[in-house]
């Protein structure tokens, strides 16, 4: 039998381009998620501040004070928080995007719409939740004497772009896989847990360099999350420290940032490709 063919005259569009053509639907889906996230809570959106706040205090007390990291590093609190907010953005966007297809099964089984809509919406929701954390970060940095340069200001959107694309790409990949094998959700949890420790959030990159040596250190820098976290350090933490006392990894801007952008773009393409290949069978497998 010849392969099946389907022709639609006003093409409804597929894939990520269709998601951006239907931006209004995307916006409504994001609004919906934000509205129902904190329904029935007294604190509402304040929870977006409370959770990372507590997380920060726990890490700061355990690592900064008890483990003594604060003594070795200026403004360790700012260092810590500027990394944590990026990891939070990653784990929320990736985790929710990977679960979004199964979570919206009832809709996907009944109505046709670009299914990429759901992972992309999850990433935007995570982005909105990041905003209050960025505000807290800025205030904290200003309090300890933040004097940014243009490069450090540019580092903020670049770091967010790297993490956003990474979350979208991995979210598409694991979201599609999750339809067929729910094991994917457990992999997601593992990756999120490992990612918190794989990037220099709680420790400094210099410790890794001293242990690994230059060759393996290059491998460490290939991780887009490492680059994003270091960009965030360059943006928020470095401009609060004594000039010359600390530095970001060598070639961060000239080499590793373009490499990270390339890596996340490849992951995005892989995620999109896998998603497109599998989405035809979503409705019958869910």
């Amino acid at each position: 039998m010849a392969g099946p063919t389907v022709v639609r005259h006003p093409s409804p569009g597929t894939g990520l381009p269709a998601v951006f053509r239907q931006r209004y639907l995307l916006k409504l889906l994001v609004d919906k998620e934000l509205q129902i996230r904190y329904r029935g809570t007294v604190l509402g959106l304040l929870w977006s501040y409370v959770k990372p706040g507590i997380q920060f205090v726990v890490f700061y007390v355990a690592l900064g004070i008890f483990l003594g990291l604060e003594r070795g590093m200026e403004n360790y609190a700012v260092y810590l928080f500027s990394g944590i907010i990026l990891i939070n953005f990653f784990s929320e966007s990736f985790g929710n995007a990977a679960r979004s297809i199964v979570a919206n099964a009832s809709l996907i089984k009944k109505i046709y719409l670009p299914r990429q809509m759901f992972p992309v919406a999850s990433v935007w929701v995570a982005g909105v939740h990041l905003l209050p954390q960025l505000v807290v970060m800025l205030v904290a940095a200003l309090v300890v004497g933040w004097s940014p340069t243009w490069i450090s200001l540019l580092a903020i959107p670049t770091a967010l772009l790297v993490v956003g694309l990474l979350g979208t790409g991995l979210g598409l990949l694991f979201g599609a896989a999750n339809v067929f094998f729910r094991d994917a959700e457990n992999f997601v949890d593992l990756i999120v847990m490992v990612s918190t420790w794989s990037a220099p959030v709680l420790y400094a990159w210099t410790m890794v360099r001293d242990v690994l040596g230059p060759v393996w250190f290059a491998g460490f820098m290939l991780n887009p999350l490492t680059v994003a976290v270091e960009l965030s350090h360059a943006a928020f933490w470095l401009p609060t420290t004594t000039p010359g006392a600390h530095e970001v990894p060598p070639h961060l801007f000239s080499l590793w940032t373009p490499v990270a952008l390339l890596v996340v773009t490849l992951i995005m393409l892989l995620g999109d490709l896998t998603f497109r290949r599998l989405e035809g069978r979503f409705a019958q497998e869910l």
Binding site: V7, R8, H9, P10, P12, L28, L29, I111, Y112, F181
Partner: protein, 254 residues
């Protein structure tokens, strides 16, 4: 509206040619089953498969109102899911000319924690409407559903009738070329059913193509002119609705 969002004139609305669709009945989920499945070159046992559509060929012209008649499991809903794009076929070809909107299971896109108003916008956008279209039709939708005073209440506080009426109203005011109606013409109380039937007939008069699945032949007769009888995933009979229903009933009596 740009040109590529409209149907090509003088072309059939739906052309299905030897359409086939099969489902696997059992899914390998354990490690051992998955390993076996991979070892066998990712093929499934024949006994594990169910062919919902065997070899279905049918042509539907624009503006026709067609009822799909047949027993449960004959492939009617599967065919509608292929036309709407929710599923893709495993064989044959399908041409769809025009925007498709489905009135499949009313309220699929509703969220109980949003207000009636928010749900109208969300569901409208899910069904393919732009913001401007929904703005323009909002008052009509609300008036049709008769829940004006509750529109800013969260729909979880609605009675089931109110919920269904609002969902039906949104679906019925989307503006596609091809309408898919699967078992939902019996929504709400008697007066509302009469009203929704009237609205569907009006859509037909406006030149929309209707594809209707319903086991309520009285309703089907009022809305559709043509009947297509589907049995075991093939077209068994095709013609004026009364004839097809008579054929179908004669067969079922034996």
């Amino acid at each position: 509206m740009s040109a590529d969002r409209t149907a090509a004139p003088n072309e059939p609305a739906v052309v299905a040619h030897h359409l086939a669709k099969e489902f696997s009945l059992r899914h390998a989920r354990s490690l051992k089953e998955t390993a076996m499945w991979l070892a066998k070159g990712r093929r499934q046992d024949i006994s594990n498969r169910f062919r919902a559509l065997e070899d279905l060929s049918v042509t539907i012209r624009p503006g026709e109102s067609v009822a799909l008649v047949g027993l449960n499991g004959s492939g009617k809903s599967t065919f509608l899911k292929l036309v709407s794009g929710v599923m893709s076929p495993d064989g044959g070809s399908l041409r769809v000319n025009g925007r498709v909107a489905g009135l499949i299971e009313v309220g699929a896109g509703f969220h109980p924690d949003l207000t009636g108003r928010d749900n109208v916008y969300l569901n409208g956008a899910i069904l393919g409407m732009t913001k401007e279209e929904i703005d323009r039709k909002f008052d009509q939708i609300v008036a049709f559903s008769e829940i004006e005073q509750f529109i800013d209440t969260e729909v979880k506080f609605y009675s089931s009738g109110m919920y269904l009426r609002l969902a039906f109203a949104v679906a019925v005011f989307t503006d596609p070329d091809i309408f898919i109606i699967d078992e939902i013409l019996s929504v709400g109380d008697e007066p509302f059913q009469r009203k929704s039937l009237g609205r569907v007939k009006q859509l037909s008069e406006e030149g929309k193509t209707l594809l209707v699945v319903s086991h309520d032949f009285d309703v089907v007769r009022k809305v559709c002119a043509r009947g297509v009888w589907i049995e075991h995933g093939r077209v068994r009979g095709d013609g004026p609705i009364d004839e097809v229903i008579a054929q179908f009933r004669a067969e079922e009596r034996d």
